[in-house]
């Protein structure tokens, strides 16, 4: 029927145009707020703004880079890593409309389990009985499984007894935190010398190559694992039958049931997958920075995952941009705050929260939306009439 040549760029319909517009306006509002907060609180607003907006890139300028005590470009990349993981995990869970907030706990336990494995195998590695690469892989695997176990608890509690997933997953976060502290401080895991961290393991297991190939760059394997996870999440959600069923469930649970999706088991499955990714995130973060375990506080990455899922509209494909953006403003804010007289970097949280609200508000810009729909409908009508007129000729 449609034999016309496809246009080079897909013409956006009013829906897509509107969602782009709303995102742009929401981000503009958020950044404006950031500017206002900075101007209000900084001793030297111009300098602070410069750091905030351009800071993470300044490492590219060697003159500036020399003066900085810290590699902020690297910090930007590093901040992206956990966001990639948790964003993917929440995208998958939210796609099925499962509000499991237990990612924090999954990350905690994932890191802990991974650290434990590394400590256990450390002796063997030093005695050359075990391969450090295999040890790292094993650590990641065990971490992922530990995370999956944590999020599966609320899922199963709901399946069996109808307990609220949201509430039980929140409690599990704190239980995970104290399990981690217990292991860190009350077992042989603890390093008696520092009394803050776990026993150390060999550097060879760490997933970061500082001064990569003699350059100033730091190569973080975590970034690649994170990218792989995002690609997995995207392919899983949009390219496999399971993902298809998960999305069906999220779009209309009645419809999913009617076409034969096992609604309950699918709900449990997404939460386990989310937890696996969360656990992997915890393990990656632990192996990516140091050669010891140090989890004594909740990371907040789990909540970041919710932010990222909202930013990307549950589509992991958009996570790259979303994480880059959020990590960028966080890195910018950190640079700004370390400079003398600069505002504190926590202001990004306010900005993130405000952007979320405006991204989600259905009624926000509703009038513009309506106008766009009407305009498109009119255009279509005109086109139709023109075609009819042509045919009549």
């Amino acid at each position: 029927m449609n034999k016309e040549k496809k246009p080079m760029f897909k013409k956006l319909d009013s829906e897509a145009k509107f969602s782009l517009l709303r995102m742009a306006v929401a981000i503009a509002i958020g950044l404006t707020l950031a500017v206002i907060l900075i101007v209000l609180s900084a001793e030297n607003p111009a300098e602070s703004l410069k750091y905030f907006f351009l800071g993470p890139l300044q490492i590219l300028n060697p003159n500036v880079a020399k003066g900085l005590a810290f590699n902020y470009f690297d910090f930007w990349i590093q901040s992206m890593i956990p966001l990639l993981f948790t964003g993917s995990a929440v995208c998958i869970m939210f796609s099925a409309n499962k509000f499991n907030l237990g990612l924090e706990g999954a990350i905690m336990c994932g890191g802990l389990a991974c650290g434990w494995v590394c400590c256990l195998l450390d002796g063997d590695i030093k005695a050359a009985n075990a391969n450090p690469v295999l040890c790292a892989i094993l650590g990641l695997l065990v971490g992922a499984i530990a995370g999956g176990l944590i999020t599966s608890i609320p899922a199963l509690l709901e399946k069996k007894w109808g307990a609220s997933v949201m509430v039980s997953s929140l409690m599990l976060n704190y239980i995970s935190l104290y399990i981690s502290r217990f292991c860190l401080f009350s077992t042989e895991f603890r390093d008696l010398k520092t009394s803050k961290y776990s026993n150390q393991w060999t550097e060879e297991v760490v997933l970061t190559f500082k001064k990569f190939l003699g350059t100033k760059l730091t190569l973080r394997l975590g970034l690649f694992i994170g990218i792989a996870v995002v690609i997995f999440a995207w392919a899983f959600l949009f390219k496999t039958k399971w993902g298809f069923k998960i999305r069906e469930l999220g779009h209309n649970p009645n419809f999913a049931k009617y076409v034969g999706v096992g609604v309950i088991s699918m709900g449990v499955l997404v939460q386990i997958i989310g937890g696996l990714i969360g656990g992997l995130c915890g393990a990656t973060v632990i192996l990516g920075n140091n050669n010891f375990y140090y989890g004594v506080e909740l990371t907040g990455y789990g909540w970041d995952g919710v932010t990222m899922a909202i930013f990307s509209g549950n589509n992991p494909k958009k996570l790259f941009l979303a994480t880059a953006f959020i990590a960028y403003i966080r890195a910018g804010a950190l640079i700004m705050s370390t400079a003398p007289g600069g505002p504190i970097n926590e202001l990004t949280k306010i900005v993130e929260g405000v952007i979320i609200l405006f991204l989600l508000a259905e009624k926000f810009l509703a009038k513009t939306h309506r106008k766009m729909i009407v305009k498109e409908a009119k255009e279509k009508q005109a086109l139709k009439l023109a075609n009819e007129a042509k045919e009549a000729e």
Binding site: M1, A235, H251, F255, V259, G260
Partner: protein, 516 residues
């Protein structure tokens, strides 16, 4: 009282363009019970919603006690002395009867809700009108019959003089119905006007003083109940305007595909909705199921399609008992289903046409290559179906929610008809869609039948049931009330009699529905 309640030339057009009421006239006098009868979708409920201020008429006047009224909300209607008992009770389960009755007009002492006063006033109202209700009981502990009385008291306590009852006996047992009627007559004698919407003609005949019949959004007429028989009312209500004229050869039924034996279904609240019915559907025939809404068709279809479970009796699909089957198994076994509510069950409005069309077959090998979906094949097939089923859209990527009702239904039909199947359950397949789309869906069903499919057709559109079905089952009160081997011999008048329970078939005749 000439102008006690008059609705004059009232017209209501819904946003989707459906004309629910077309210059309807209705009037009632003080102290009468006035029945409104009409088929499903005739516009009775819309008319009453306008009287109760839930909907506003596009044209026409509502006159109450001689005054022209503008009713913009239920609050306005309540002030004008109108009360309505909805089919779904408007009650708060955990609150007591007195609290529910007084909600919105709470008596207070300062800031405090005056429970004693609420109980007193509820009691007073109950006594005045002869209702026996404990004002301190919680709603959730009450039976449906008592809940309904609470609903009536709720209206009365606000000084209601015109009481609308929307199919009040649909949820009641015969005993409760009897009791309700005694109380309604008592109410009438105290000067209250009651508008009684019902399908149950014996009840209308027993209870009411006058009856107004509405058909397809138009008033047919008003009669004193003494002057008409149940058969008359039925004849006025039911009427097939057009012969759908669907070309089809006589059916050639073969072996049984679906056999239902002694099936009894209870709903969630434990009420018996399907009562010991048996029938079978054979290859190459369309079995119609007719009946006034709420007579068990919904529950019957739900258990056959796996949306609900049953415990008594058996359903055998192609030689297998379906009791413990999940919907996925049922579909694997050759069941396809056009659901009654296409927006609730039939589609995901926020997903694309393509996704909706392959949703039931996404797990099949042909649509997967290895771990991943075979998108090329999916696109090819769905593009073909879009053409084949004449879905009007920009492309298969368009969201289903952007389509018109008829095109959404075509998407549903395309999905279900393109899966290999033995049994098609077609529930209201043409409800609310345009004529062209409806004709298309019907033609496709006949094609399916000729190809050897067993088809169950449930439809509130009697013209459709009569012209499309080969044989017909009529349900009434959860039982099969009539079985017609050959629909051609059936008149619409007769069908109305069986649907409304005016006539009954013998058990021997009904047994014919089950082919052994």
């Amino acid at each position: 009282m000439e102008n006690y309640l008059v609705m004059q030339d009232v017209t209501k057009i819904y946003n989707n363009g459906i004309i629910a009421n077309d210059k309807v006239n209705f009037s009632a006098v003080k102290g009468e019970i006035h029945a409104i009868c009409g088929e499903n979708g005739a516009g009775k409920t819309t008319l009453m919603k306008m009287l109760f201020g839930i909907e506003q008429p596009d044209e026409g006047k509502i006159i109450i006690k001689g005054k022209d009224m503008k009713l913009n909300s239920p609050t306005d209607a309540i002030k004008a002395g109108i009360g309505m008992v909805h089919q779904h009770f408007m009650q708060v389960p955990s609150l007591t009867v007195a609290e529910n009755v007084m909600l919105g007009i709470e008596p207070t002492k300062g800031l405090v809700f005056d429970m004693n006063e609420a109980v007193r006033r509820t009691k007073e109202c109950c006594e005045k009108y002869g209702f026996e209700i404990n004002p301190k009981a919680e709603i959730q502990d009450l039976s449906v019959g008592v809940k309904q009385k609470v609903e009536i008291v709720k209206a009365l306590v606000k000084g209601c003089e015109i009481l609308i009852l929307d199919e009040p006996t649909a949820v009641l047992t015969p005993q409760e119905t009897k009791e309700l009627f005694v109380q309604l007559k008592h109410l009438r004698d105290t000067g209250c006007t009651i508008i009684f919407i019902s399908h149950k003609l014996n009840e209308v005949k027993e209870l009411c003083d006058r009856v107004t019949v509405i058909k397809k959004g138009k008033t047919i007429g008003v009669w004193n109940i003494k002057d008409v028989t149940e058969a008359d009312i039925s004849r006025y209500m039911v009427g097939v305007d057009v012969d759908l004229n669907i070309p089809k050869a006589p059916a050639q039924p073969k072996e049984n595909v679906l056999t239902v034996k002694n099936l009894t279904v209870y709903n969630e609240a434990g009420k018996k909705k399907v009562d010991d019915i048996s029938f079978s559907v054979r290859r190459g025939e369309i079995v119609g199921i007719a009946g006034v809404e709420g007579n068990g068709q919904r529950e019957l279809i739900d258990v056959i399609t796996g949306l609900a479970k049953y415990s008594h009796g058996s359903i055998v699909l192609d030689g297998k008992e379906v009791k413990d089957m999940e919907i996925a198994d049922l579909r694997e076994h050759g069941m396809v289903h056009i659901p009654e509510d296409r927006n609730l069950y039939g589609c995901a409005r926020t997903m694309s046409i393509k996704d909706n069309m392959v949703a039931d077959k996404i797990h099949k090998d042909e649509y997967n290559s290895g771990l991943f979906l075979n998108e090329k094949k999916i696109k090819e097939d769905t593009d073909r179906w879009v053409d084949e089923y004449l879905v009007l859209c920009d492309s298969g990527e368009q969201l289903v929610g952007m389509l018109s009702g008829g095109n959404v239904q075509k998407v549903v039909v395309a999905r279900e008809f393109t899966s290999p199947s033995k049994l098609l359950i077609s529930d209201q397949p043409t409800r609310g869609i345009d004529v062209g789309a409806a004709e298309f869906v019907r033609k496709k069903m006949v094609e399916m039948r000729d190809a050897g499919e067993a088809i169950i057709l449930v439809s509130a559109d009697l013209a459709e049931v009569m012209s499309l079905s080969d044989s017909l089952i009529v349900m009434h009160g959860g039982k099969i009330n009539g079985y017609f081997k050959d629909v051609k011999s059936l008149t619409e008048e007769d069908l109305g009699f069986y649907m409304l329970g005016v006539k009954h078939m013998s058990e021997e005749e009904i047994k014919g529905a089950l082919h052994e």
